[in-house]
């Protein structure tokens, strides 16, 4: 009985240790994610994603359900490159960040605020983002993003 209790305690402590160690790592990942966006560095951004990552955009529409579009990582990066190419004064900020850590998968939620000038107009885009992060031997990789996006 004592052995069982000891094992449970050990496993519990290991899980707590995993949480304590993993949470700061997702903070570092998110910092790199924000830097890559701000620097408009598609290569650096790509290195943060798993090859099979999916990005699900939920585009808010007036008077209707959000339009859901699922992109591969490649399609997502292509759109960012096109946006960076045509826009001016693009700025990104991340706020309201929360982290939660599991054994193999971590989750990060944050608000991504974008502002840029496109074809003479200033556009604001707010996204409530839920990011899934996989723990790999080589470090943390983003495996999925779901973003509820509104434009104004």
């Amino acid at each position: 009985m004592n052995t069982l209790l000891y094992r449970c305690l050990t496993l519990g402590l290991a899980a707590l240790a995993s949480f304590a160690v993993a949470s700061p790592k997702t903070e570092v990942l998110l910092e790199h994610y924000g830097d890559a966006l701000q620097e408009q560095n598609a290569e650096a951004l790509s290195s943060l994603f798993a090859p099979d990552a999916e990005v699900r955009l939920l585009l808010e529409q007036p008077g209707a359900e959000p339009l859901a579009i699922t992109l591969t990582e490649d399609e997502h990066l292509q759109q960012l490159r096109a946006l960076w190419r045509f826009s001016e004064e693009a700025t990104y900020s991340l706020s309201d960040v929360t982290h939660s850590a599991g054994a193999d998968v971590h989750r990060v939620q944050f608000t991504q605020t974008e502002r840029y000038r496109l074809f003479g107009q200033t556009l604001h885009r707010d996204g409530r983002v839920r990011m899934r992060v996989r723990v790999t031997p080589g470090g943390l990789l983003i495996t999925g993003i779901e973003a509820l996006i509104s434009e104004r």
Partner: protein
Amino acid sequence: MGARGLVLKLPTVQLTMQLVVRHDRFSDAFMQKSRRFFADQYDRAMRSVRAAEDDILFLYPPPDKDRQRYVEMMNESRLFLIEAGVYDKDMMRWMKKARCKVSPERGECSSEVPW
């Protein structure tokens, strides 16, 4: 644009280029070199494709709710063109194998239809 509209990314046509030579007039080494040359052009061609794609804003695949409908529409068009004799059946059989190897979850992959 963006939330108000998008450019639909949907493959509808596949272009191929083939160089056909009389094998009895060229050495094996020349033909092997030619194959290597064309294979080596892949990265260059993809750079052109990516550069062209980077000129298109809001180039998205169909919305999730419409995706299956578009796949079915393309399947129907392909079957029509095969049955009308426009597409070569052997080629289409190989292309189905290629599609199902890359994306085995496609509905057509569990179908008995050979192309």
